[in-house]
C-alpha cells in the first residue's frame, strides 16, 4: 500500500503540523511518499526524508507558483492519478484542509478532516469535532482515502528514510491561478500568539479594554503575548486576532496563564495544547481551575500586578 502525504508549506517553510502528519503516516501499513508543489518546493523537499518519506515527488508545471488552492489542488490531483496511492494525507491546517477539500471535490472522493487516530488502511478513524471537545468514530469506504491529521494529535518524531527526490511534471489549466496569493502584508515580526512561550489571557472579569494593561506589562516582562476569551472580543475590548479558542487561535506555550477565564469548552479547546496551565480565578470551582495544573484563587486585578512586581524583584 502507498500513502501519499501532500506537504503544506509556505514558499519552502514546511508547516510544523506536517511533521506530525508524517509521523502518523508512518504508523499506517505502507510506504510513505511525499508530494511537494509550488514555489519553494525544492527547499521543502529536502526536509522530508528525516520524517520517513522514502520518495519525495516534486510536482512541477509552468503554471505553479505561490499558493493557490485551485492550482495546487489540481496539481495534487494530477500527482494522485499518476502515483495511484491508497491513502492521501495532509495536516489539518487551514491550507491542508483546504487543499484536501479541493482534491476531494475534483476527484469526487470523500475527505475525513482532523483525524486523531487511524487504523492501518485508513478505513476506520477517530476524528475531532467541536474543535477537539468531542470525538467521532468514523468509517470511510473509498478507492482512495483522503484524510487530514488534527494538529497536536501526536508529537512529531523523526525516522531517517531515503527521501529521494523525483521530478513529476504535470499539466494544469492556467485559469486556476485565479485564486493565487496576490500580495502579502507582513504584520507580526517576532513571536506570535501561536508561537509565544508564555501566553497571558484575560476573560470577561478583566472588565474593560484598559483592564488589559497589567497583563501587557507582565507579558512584556516574560517575553510573552496577551490573549483573551471570546467574551472579550465580543465586547470589543481586544481584536479577534488575540482570541484563544475554537474560533480563534490554538496556542501551545510552555505556560498559559488564564486569568478571570471560566473555561468554556470553546476556550478550552484552544488552550488545551499548552504544556502547563496556571489559572487565576476567584472561583475555585471554575472549569479553568479544575482543568489547570496550577491555580491561584485570587482576583486577577490584584494578582497580576503582584506577579509582575515579584518578577521584577528577582530580575533586579
Amino acid at each position: 500500500m502507498s500513502i501519499l502525504v501532500i506537504i503544506e508549506h509556505d514558499r519552502g517553510d514546511v508547516a510544523p503540523a506536517m511533521f506530525e502528519a508524517l509521523t502518523v503516516a508512518r504508523e499506517l501499513e505502507g510506504d510513505v511518499e511525499a508530494v511537494v508543489i509550488g514555489e519553494g518546493a525544492e527547499t521543502a523537499a529536502t526536509q522530508l526524508g528525516a520524517y520517513g518519506a522514502e520518495t519525495v515527488h516534486h510536482v512541477t508545471s509552468d503554471e505553479l507558483g505561490d499558493y493557490s488552492p485551485e492550482a495546487w489542488g489540481q496539481a495534487a490531483v494530477e500527482a494522485i492519478k499518476e502515483l495511484d496511492p491508497e491513502v492521501v494525507m495532509t495536516a489539518g491546517t487551514d491550507r491542508g484542509n483546504e487543499l484536501m477539500a479541493q482534491i476531494g471535490a475534483r476527484m469526487d472522493l470523500p475527505f475525513v478532516a482532523n483525524c486523531v487516530e487511524l487504523n492501518d488502511d485508513a478505513s476506520e478513524m477517530i476524528r475531532s469535532q467541536w474543535g477537539g471537545a468531542l470525538h467521532e468514530e468514523t468509517t470511510l469506504d473509498a478507492e482512495i482515502k483522503l484524510v487530514s491529521v488534527a494538529p497536536h494529535a501526536v508529537e512529531a518524531t523523526t525516522e531517517e528514510a531515503a527521501g529521494d527526490i523525483e521530478e513529476l511534471e504535470v499539466e494544469i489549466d492556467a485559469g486556476l491561478n485565479r485564486t493565487v496569493i496576490k500580495d502579502r502584508v507582513v504584520m507580526n515580526e517576532g513571536i506570535t500568539l501561536s508561537t509565544a512561550p508564555v501566553v497571558i489571557s484575560g476573560g470577561r472579569a478583566v472588565g474593560s479594554a484598559e483592564g488589559f494593561a497589567p497583563l501587557e506589562e507582565l507579558a512584556g516582562e516574560l517575553g510573552g503575548k496577551v490573549g483573551c476569551s471570546r467574551a472579550v472580543t465580543n465586547n470589543g475590548w481586544r481584536p479577534h486576532s488575540d482570541q484563544v479558542g475554537q474560533t480563534g487561535t490554538r496556542i501551545a506555550p510552555t505556560i498559559y496563564i488564564a486569568s478571570g477565564i471560566s473555561g468554556a469548552t470553546q476556550h478550552w479547546v484552544g488552550a488545551m495544547g499548552s504544556k502547563n496551565i496556571l489559572a487565576i480565578n476567584t472561583d475555585p470551582e471554575a472549569n479553568m481551575v479544575t482543568k489547570a495544573g496550577w491555580a491561584v484563587i485570587a482576583d486577577l486585578h490584584v494578582m497580576i500586578p503582584a506577579i509582575t512586581e515579584e518578577v521584577r524583584k528577582r530580575k533586579a
Partner: protein, 257 residues
C-alpha cells in the same frame, strides 16, 4: 449585488457537550441552538456588503425543520430572503451536504439569476468537516478561498473581491473574479444584534423551501465519544497576592523567566 450566505444550526457553542444514550447525537435537551459562529459572520458580511453596494441578501440553511429559528434570526438582522433545504433525519456527510446545497443553489439561480458572491463559514462549529464550501464552489465552477478574515468588493458587480487570510506572520491577499465563493472566519466582523423592528419583520418573512435529491455519502459516523479525560489534580499555589512568590518559582522552574 446578489449575495448568498450559508448557515448551519448547531447546539449553542460554549457549554459542556454531552452525548445521547445511542451515541449518535449531541444531547441538546438543555441547550439552546444558534447559528455556527463563523456563519453568523458570513451573514453579517453579506449584509454589510449589500448596505455598501446595494442589492439583496439571501440566507440558506440545510437542516431540520427547527432550523427555521436560525433563518428567522437571520431575517431579523437585515437579510432579505430566507431558504430552508429540509433534511429528513438521515445522515448527511460533507459530500452529500455539498451535493444538496449545489443542487439547491442551482435551482435558485435558474429561477432568479446568478449570485455574485456566495459566503460560507470556514467550518461548522459541531462536525467541522472543513470542505462543504470548497465542494459547492467546485460544483458551481467558481473560485473559492477559505479562512477569510477581510472581504471587500471592487468594481461590482462585474469586478472582483479582495479577500484577506490571516496567517501567523501577517496577511495573505487574494483577488477573485466575480462570481466567487469565500469561506469566512469569526473576527471578520462583529455580527449585529437584531433590532425590535427587525424582530417584528422576521416573524412575517416568507420561509422558502427547496427540495433536493442526494445520495448517502461514503463517510459514515459510527458513534460519538468523549475524548479521554486526563485525570487532573490542580495544585493550588495559594490564595491572594501572597501566592506571587510561588507563581514566580514555577515560572523559574519552567525556564520562562
Amino acid at each position: 449585488m446578489r449575495i448568498l450566505a450559508l448557515v448551519k444550526r448547531v447546539p449553542a457553542p460554549g457549554a459542556r457537550i454531552n452525548i445521547t444514550a445511542d451515541e449518535q447525537h449531541v444531547d441538546d435537551k438543555h441547550l439552546g441552538h444558534a447559528v455556527s459562529p463563523h456563519e453568523e459572520c458570513a451573514t453579517e458580511a453579506a449584509v454589510q456588503l449589500v448596505e455598501k453596494h446595494g442589492g439583496d441578501v439571501t440566507v440558506l440553511t440545510l437542516g431540520p425543520p427547527e432550523a427555521e429559528e436560525q433563518l428567522r434570526y437571520a431575517a431579523s438582522t437585515g437579510v432579505n430572503k430566507i431558504v430552508l433545504v429540509p433534511t429528513d433525519g438521515t445522515p448527511y456527510d460533507p459530500q452529500r451536504t455539498a451535493a444538496a446545497l449545489a443542487d439547491a443553489i442551482g435551482q435558485m439561480e435558474a429561477a432568479d439569476g446568478e449570485f455574485d458572491l456566495i459566503i460560507f463559514g470556514n467550518e461548522s462549529a459541531d462536525s467541522g468537516g472543513f470542505q462543504v464550501g470548497v465542494r459547492v464552489a467546485y460544483a458551481l465552477g467558481r473560485p473559492m478561498v477559505n479562512a477569510i478574515k477581510g472581504l471587500e468588493i471592487e468594481g461590482a458587480p462585474e469586478g472582483h473581491i479582495i479577500a484577506r487570510r490571516e496567517i501567523d506572520a501577517g496577511v495573505e491577499v487574494y483577488e477573485l473574479p466575480l462570481p466567487a465563493c469565500v469561506g469566512v472566519k469569526e473576527g471578520i466582523n462583529l455580527p449585529r444584534y437584531p433590532t425590535m423592528k427587525g424582530r417584528l419583520a422576521s416573524k412575517k418573512a416568507e420561509l422558502n423551501s427547496i427540495e433536493t435529491d442526494s445520495d448517502a455519502g461514503s463517510q459514515k459516523m459510527v458513534r460519538l465519544v468523549s475524548p479521554p479525560e486526563t485525570v487532573n489534580e490542580t495544585v493550588i499555589l495559594g490564595t491572594g497576592p501572597e501566592a506571587a512568590g510561588a507563581v514566580v518559582d514555577l515560572l523559574e522552574e519552567l525556564g520562562v523567566m
